[in-house]
């Protein structure tokens, strides 16, 4: 039999910052070019206008030259700049937003694929409500990722280009001017923003953490507010929330004042460039190396840089937020892959008969105080095991272990004498946990998740077996009825049976069902149990239930569990299990 080695895919699925640029390289390039043209015309509009009126003043007062003064070309250039500036900005905004949306789409798909490749037990370790919160976080985190390009990378690119253009222009006019302006320009363009990034990025990355602390400080007590008010404890809570609120606001204030100060210093540095240029110009004009119109154009160009460099001061905010989002997403993708995932592809034949054996199996969910202890099992094809016991005794945890989604703390578990990782669990075990999902799709689409190629007849067969046939035939849209978000269009009992039918459609030889019949009336329950028993004649069925079930005596074993997770004392089965376990251990030793 072939066992595929675990391919190290974590490297490929992690999100790196450069991916954000590379994934939609063409789109970003277009947005960058359009933005660059826009900014050139912003600077051009001011500089050419300044040059034009100064030149006009020179020409106009020397009347003889006025006739020869070509005013058409500058006038046309000024109008062109005005138009390009408008159109360019429009185009740039469209291009960048389109690209950002495309990037988000790519990221969502990629993340979805990465999450789908994760072994299941890590998904189990988060309680449901927690997961819901984490999921919400996931969506906002993805949306943060495009910020790094929109608010950090593109502005840096544009400002680099414009600073280079202005510096080139100054050098072309006179290298003395460049040297006069250079220190201020470099400080405003690189020095201060990089300083801000260095000082601020760690703070910016911690933003979400502060927000989360504040949220927890409010939401947990809010659920208990009535008792807390009765006990006179709410003022304490209010103080605590206020404290966290102030922490959060101060954390933001530190960043905003850093950004604000950086912007101010940038403007001062640009001002020093202008003063430097003016200082040098006086000397140069005496020597005739510089004309007044050109000088004015240069000064106006430097002035216009102010608006272009300003976004750099706050780029660390976007950078920090994106980095933090990336880290959280990567942590989610790469979280606890301590256990190898079962082989996905399987070339060997799946055996026809199965034997499920467990010996002294003990397991706990992370953070749980109780769980199944010392469980012994021995089942073969055609047999049914019914787990019984009060809630919290570990029935669900035991089923998770059997499904291969939770590693046991101690004890052994074999399928046909091999550890479960050996088998392609996707073809072997059909597991229906207590928290099943019905998706916001049609009834047929929901069922076909179990078997993509199932015919309508097959679907109707399953629906009939689940006592849903009459209901479904009565629906105006029949199989195409949308089930709504969280399966809102169907009742809890119906949703549960749809999920059960979906598991049956996968036709897997071992079925592990956790409370599949809760909330059903007696007649429906009998009908569904009969169908289950009939459909699993050749397989193994493990079922947990609060309510007593009518199961065929000759096929069924019962495992009562006590509250602390031990198997209940049922002398007959107990002795039987002890013997089986000794037998198993002896075999394992060999």
């Amino acid at each position: 039999m072939l066992r595929l080695g675990k391919v190290s895919e974590t490297r490929d699925t992690s999100i790196r910052l450069r991916d954000l640029l590379l994934l939609r390289g063409g789109g970003w390039l277009l947005a960058f070019l359009l933005g660059a043209v826009t900014l050139l015309s912003v600077v051009g509009l001011l500089a050419i206008s300044g040059w034009f009126i100064t030149a006009a003043a020179v020409a106009g007062t020397a009347t003889a030259a006025a006739i020869g003064f070509d005013y058409f070309r500058p006038a046309a250039l000024i109008r062109l700049c005005a138009i390009v500036r408008t159109a360019g900005r429009y185009g740039e905004r469209l291009a960048s937003h389109d690209t950002a949306l495309g990037l988000l789409k790519d990221l969502r798909c990629r993340l979805f694929r990465a999450l789908g490749k994760k072994p299941l037990q890590s998904a189990v370790s988060t309680a449901h409500y927690r997961a819901a919160k984490a999921m919400h976080r996931l969506i906002t985190d993805i949306d943060h990722l495009d910020q790094v390009v929109l608010r950090a990378l593109l502005p840096w690119g544009w400002s680099g280009l414009m600073v280079a253009a202005v510096m080139g222009g100054l050098y072309w006019l006179n290298s003395t001017l460049l040297w006069a302006a250079l220190p201020g320009l470099l400080i405003a363009w690189l020095g201060l923003p990089l300083l801000a990034v260095w000082r601020g990025i760690r703070q910016a990355r911690r933003d979400a953490e502060f927000a989360e602390r504040r949220r927890v400080a409010l939401l947990d007590p809010l659920a208990a507010i009535t008792s807390l008010v009765l006990w006179g404890r709410w003022p304490d809570i209010r103080q605590r929330v206020k404290g966290e609120d102030i922490n959060f606001l101060q954390q933001q204030e530190r960043q905003f004042s850093l950004a604000s100060l950086t912007t101010a210093m940038q403007q001062v540095a640009l001002g020093s460039s202008i003063i430097g240029v003016l200082w040098q110009a006086e000397v140069l004009m005496h020597t005739g190396a510089l004309t007044v119109p050109i000088l004015l154009a240069a000064v106006l160009a430097i002035l216009a840089l102010g608006e272009i460099l300003a976004p750099l001061a706050s780029s660390f905010l976007a950078l920090g937020a994106s980095l933090a989002a990336r880290d959280r997403l990567n942590a989610l993708i790469n979280a606890d892959e301590s256990r190898p995932s079962p082989p996905v592809t399987w070339s060997g034949a799946v055996p026809l008969t199965w034997q499920l054996e467990a010996c002294q199996l003990t397991a706990r969910l992370p953070g749980a105080l109780t769980g199944p202890q010392d469980i012994h099992l021995s089942l073969k094809s055609g047999e049914i095991l019914c787990l019984q016991g009060p809630s919290g005794c570990g029935k669900s945890t035991l089923l998770q272990v059997l499904a291969g989604e939770l590693a046991p703390l101690s004890g052994h578990y074999w399928l046909n004498g091999q550890p479960p990782e050996h088998w392609p669990l996707l073809k072997t075990i059909g597991y229906l946990p207590q928290q099943w999902d019905v998706f916001d799709m049609s009834l047929a689409e929901n069922l076909r998740l179990g078997d993509e190629g199932a015919s309508d007849d097959t679907l109707w067969g399953v629906l009939n077996d689940m006592a849903l046939g009459t209901w479904a035939r009565g629906l105006p849209q029949g199989l195409n009825t949308p089930l709504g978000e969280y399966g809102a269009a169907v009742s809890g009992g119906q949703a549960r049976r749809i999920a059960l039918g979906r598991v049956l459609l996968t036709r897997r030889p071992i079925l592990l069902l956790d409370e599949p019949l809760a909330g059903l009336d007696t007649i429906t329950r009998h009908h569904v149990v009969d169908s289950l028993v009939r459909r699993t004649q050749k397989g193994i069925l493990v079922i947990s239930s609060h309510v007593p079930l009518v199961l065929p005596e000759h096929r069924t074993h019962y495992l009562p569990m006590l509250e602390e997770g031990r198997p209940g004392v049922s002398p007959l089965t107990w002795r039987h299990q002890k013997e089986a376990c000794a037998d198993l251990r002896a075999r394992a030793m060999k």
Partner: protein
Amino acid sequence: MKVKPIMSGVTDSTDPQQLLGRCIAPHRWWLRGALLLALFSVVLLIIQSWLLATLFHHWLQLWQGTEAARYQSGVLFGLIICLVLRPLLQAGREWLSRQASQRARIALRSQLLEQLERLGPARRHLGSDGALGTQVLEQVDALDGYISRYRVQSLLAVMVPCLVAAVVAFYSPLSAGLMLATAPLVPLFMVLVGRAAASASQQQFSALARMGGRFLDLVRGMATLTRMGATAQAEDSVADASEAYRTRTMRVLKLAFLSSAVLEFFAALAIALVALYLGLGLLGLLPWAKGEVPVPYQGALFILLLAPEFYAPLRQLGADYHARAEATGAMLSLSPLLEAGTWQPQGQQPSAKVRVEPLHLACHELAVCGEGGRLRLAPLSLMLAAGERLLIQGESGVGKSSFLEALLGFSAYQGSVMVNGCELSQWPGDVWRCQLGYLGQQPPVLGGSIAENLRLACPDKTDTELIEALEWVGLWPILVRGDGLFTRLGERGQGLSGGQLQRLGLAQLLLRDAALWLFDEPTAHLDPDSAWQLNTLIGRLSRGRSVIIVSHESVGLEWVEHRRVLTSGRGIPCCG
């Protein structure tokens, strides 16, 4: 005795702008300071432009040899002051605005938290805890942009153009006229842009919610999809939803950006026109003034330098316009919570120490009204002697929870509730609360250790007393296997099962030792087995106490002395 309902729950729909104004009013001096700094900065800019124009005018004349060289250190010095001072003023303005915004938000949040305290269990009429939490946190923060940017900017957008136009008019009335002529177009388009942006952002938001919903739906069910081996099918669905969202958003954005592009175009065009007018004027080529120079060079340059500044505040306001829409929306969603009427017992605080005594309760024609005079609880009369236990049942919506709210002292009522011969509304609020123990569907368990949670109810109990209470509810044997009293619970009691958590809630009640225990569906989230266990346990522990338990099931509740089924008060006229 008839008590007038003070809490009506009726909210006069106050204008959100008015609410915003009220919430900013105490902090207006910060904003006025910010406005002052911004105006000062504009004055400096005007001076700076004038200095630059003077300098270049001098150089031009020097260059043409019409004027002798003068040392320009005074002008340069003035320029340095302007160039240094303006950015600092801007930073100061931002700091003042942020202070105003932070203070206003902290104050508003405190107000909301106090309001929640007064509402107690009645908060459920205003939304789920998650939604209320979002209101207190995110919606309040959504006011930031309005307070710290829009408020001052909206004043600047009027003042600065007027100031600039006035200065420009001094040199060239025509240029000022040209600017002022295009100026009204700006607000016009801003409103258009604002409206387009608002509807765009709204549409985009709903589209985003839909797309996010699909994504969330599938990610949440990832375990199921993996178990089914159907992740590839689902990924296609994610891609489709994202692509649809992208197309729809781009369609909206094309329109929204177009309107702001028109605004931008007018600003650019006006600058270009002013430049051409001034340039051609200097050449003496204006058709209506051939051979004349209407604006001399110094004035022309001065105007050109100021022209972008004329439009800058308006453009900035356009960019901040969505902050106003955001704040209005947030305020609108906050107003029900902010303005909800509250009620509590009115009695005077006694000087003596509060004593817990056996309670004798008599309700006569007790009724509770909700918003719009809708009857939440139909008139109800019942008696409960000290130490008696009562089970209340009835279909949902019949007013069971409202009855408990009234008894808890969070809701105004009609009719009378006599407790030990004294009307409930005449009890001092604190004293009344000390008489009560309450356990709802979810126990008041926070993140932290078991001991911390128990001491939440009663801070001065010793470890032994805590352990005793835990033994009473049967939790101690389970906790011993963890860290005993120091066993840590996650958020909302993660680590214990639902039934175990409710038992922890019972332990809290035992420690408080109240005279009247009120239970609101304590077993609603439990499976039948645990529900039976919990109900039996409540019966065992509550012997000798007055108990009112609201529950939809009666399994395990055989110990109650009285049972009452509430029926809806149809046919009884509404109050209010």
